[in-house]
Amino acid sequence: MIENIKTGKNGFIDLFNKFRNFREGTLILIIVAVCVLMSFLSPYFMTWANWKAIFLSFSTEGIVVVGMTVMLVLGGIDLSVGAVMCLAMCIGGKLFLLGVNPWLASLIALAICAGIGYIQGLLVTKVGLVHFITTLAFMGIARGACFVITQGTPLSLFTLPQSFKFIGQGTIGPLPFVIIIFLVIVIVSDYMLRNSTVLRKVFYSGSNEKAAVFSGIRVSRVKIGVSVLCCTLSGLAGIIYMSRFGASTPGFGVGLEMTAISAAVIGGASLTGGEGTVFGSILGAALLSIITSSLILLDVSVYWQDLIKGCILLFAVSVDHIQHMRRQAG
């Protein structure tokens, strides 16, 4: 236990100096702090099983968070992620039950999601609607479609082939395959969002749309592209869930949009566009998951959980923000 403290403390200080002047630094420190604290409060917290549970609980949603982050950087917002995710799940499941090969079914589902994104993009760029309303409407449309497809009752995909179930349930060594997919997507997209020429245009468009136009950036294309990306990633998450749960539940993913947006905003994304990193958003998602499961691990009375969670969240973001301001001041 004593050693535990030591390593904890040391690691803490090291990290602190290391991350002082780097946007996500504080968030990481906060998460580390929570973990250190928890490892004292509960012997189960630092177990591999627990961490696997935590990771599993946000890895698939994490894929949605990635899409949402790009959307927020653009200065848009996507309220339809949860519904679109569920739609992919339902279309894929339904097609499979109709005898379509599950892989093909999934591709079709993804294509449809991409299509939805494309239509959203057109409505935003050509008609000129705001993202909020457009995606709000599609939230209803997609969700409705789920109920129509499933007739309101979950489709049981018990007969899914093992090969397909592997996506959601398989493990490579100790690691669940889901987590691997998640990590790959996060690392790639984080790098791309920071460095790729194409995604850089998202920052310009989000920072000052008019100036972007006056710099020869085809903002409409960028917008359409981001909508497609966001919806496709949501669809992918849906497919993964379908494989993991072996079921298509029409009510699945309700409220996911809020979770995703919150994660991104906690991670430093701005609702007015131009700011945000995938890494930060994922840290935000992680923080939320860790808090939730910590409270459960401590057997905190269910009545108090929401309340305490809210307070911790408030504390965390305040610290992060104040640190951020300090950094900027120099």
Partner: protein, 502 residues
Amino acid sequence: MSDYALEVRGIVKDFPGTRALDRVDLTLKKGEILALVGENGAGKSTLMNVIDGVHLPDEGQIFIDGNEVNIRNPLDAQKYGIGFVHQEIALCQHVSVAENVFMSELNSTDRKFINYRDLYRRAKKALAPLGDIDPRKKVSELSISNQQIVEIAKALSLNCKILILDEPTAALTESETDALFNIMEELKKKGISMIYISHRMAEIFSQCDRVSILRDGEYCGSLNVDETNSREVVTRMVGREISNLYPAKFDGNCIEQDELLRVEDFSDSKRFTDISFTLHEGEILGLSGLIGAGRSEIVKAVCGLFPKKKGDVYFRGEKLDIHHYEDAINNGIVYLSEDRKVEGVFLDMSIQRNISVLDLKAVSVNGIVNINKEKGLAEEYSKKLNVKCSTLSQNVSSLSGGNQQKVLISKLLSIKPKVVIMDEPTRGIDVGAKSEIHKLLRNLTHEGIGVIMISSELPELIGMSDRVLVMHEGESCGIISGDDINEKKIIHMASGLEKVGA
């Protein structure tokens, strides 16, 4: 009771990376117009922001009528009778012109409700001497020049004792500028003291009593206008001699050069009709006209930034179909907007990202932006136009107005364009840098590049252009060249009284 309306002593203001103000003293006599001059980034706006309580100074004192005062925010400043026309237009775009003009009053009034009819009436009255603007309109519907007028009327509505004008004429046309000067005369007669910031020496010597000089955040003395000349002032503020001569024009007849760009009968629904002109290699073509002549619109249309009904563009004789600005850029045609803040800079992004934006491919290696290349590019051009900044990774929002303009010009030149179209290129740029840019433009033409220049500053236009296309209410009044290029003729044509070679 001192005879100074305003006095500041030992003001220090630090920003991360820069000391903007270093123990600055400044005195403003009652009823005088004091010119404040200095290079871009010298600290003029910062000093004014300190006086207005927008920034709090790190050290130093402020005296009004001889008593030390503590100004913590603009509201305090108002209470002390300070009015401020900001360099960067700061108006509420969604709100009516009238409410913008009287915002401060509406804020301090005890009346519970707004009487709009009365408000509009008074706004109309307040705006009348400066220009004809409908007080019911939303600010977002106004052109920048009109927005600048609203900004001025707003400050005047405070009927203050001390009025600060930070480059008010930068976005104004001749006529509007004159209107402003008349008003300043009036105010002066009423014993109101003014601080007038400008980079135009002519204005300073015609309007001001004294001139105080800032250099690199330090105060270096004041001169009485009638005891000095622009040469001395400029030398003091820049620290070296500046030849305010314009670079030599194209020798010989540029029309004999190969045609670079040909625009044939451009028309849109209302802003311009049947405009045609050609631009030759090595030529600087001036575009002149009163505000609203549609100069910006026509060149925007050429670049695919403004819808057109009909008209063709030929580059080196072959037809281009330009649907997006992207197409224009790919053909080496670039445009500098007159609206720096809205159509120009990415305020919350770094300098280097602002410069590299036009052609990201150039700084990318297979789809990934190469930070070093990007930095290199930015360094090269920000040096060329010596942008005053602490690092290239600082946000453009932290640059002075003039330096932001320089960043935009760097951005244009960074892609080695063939045709450069500039709308008010030297707006807000200091004398030294201005002549630098003039030289730069001329040098570009020596490399066979063609330049189209829009400027509301006639002397500049006349000094630089080989030929001038004069427009009146969206129609061309013909092109003049050689000795025809003079104020009288241009103004004559611009007001639609004369057409040439039609």
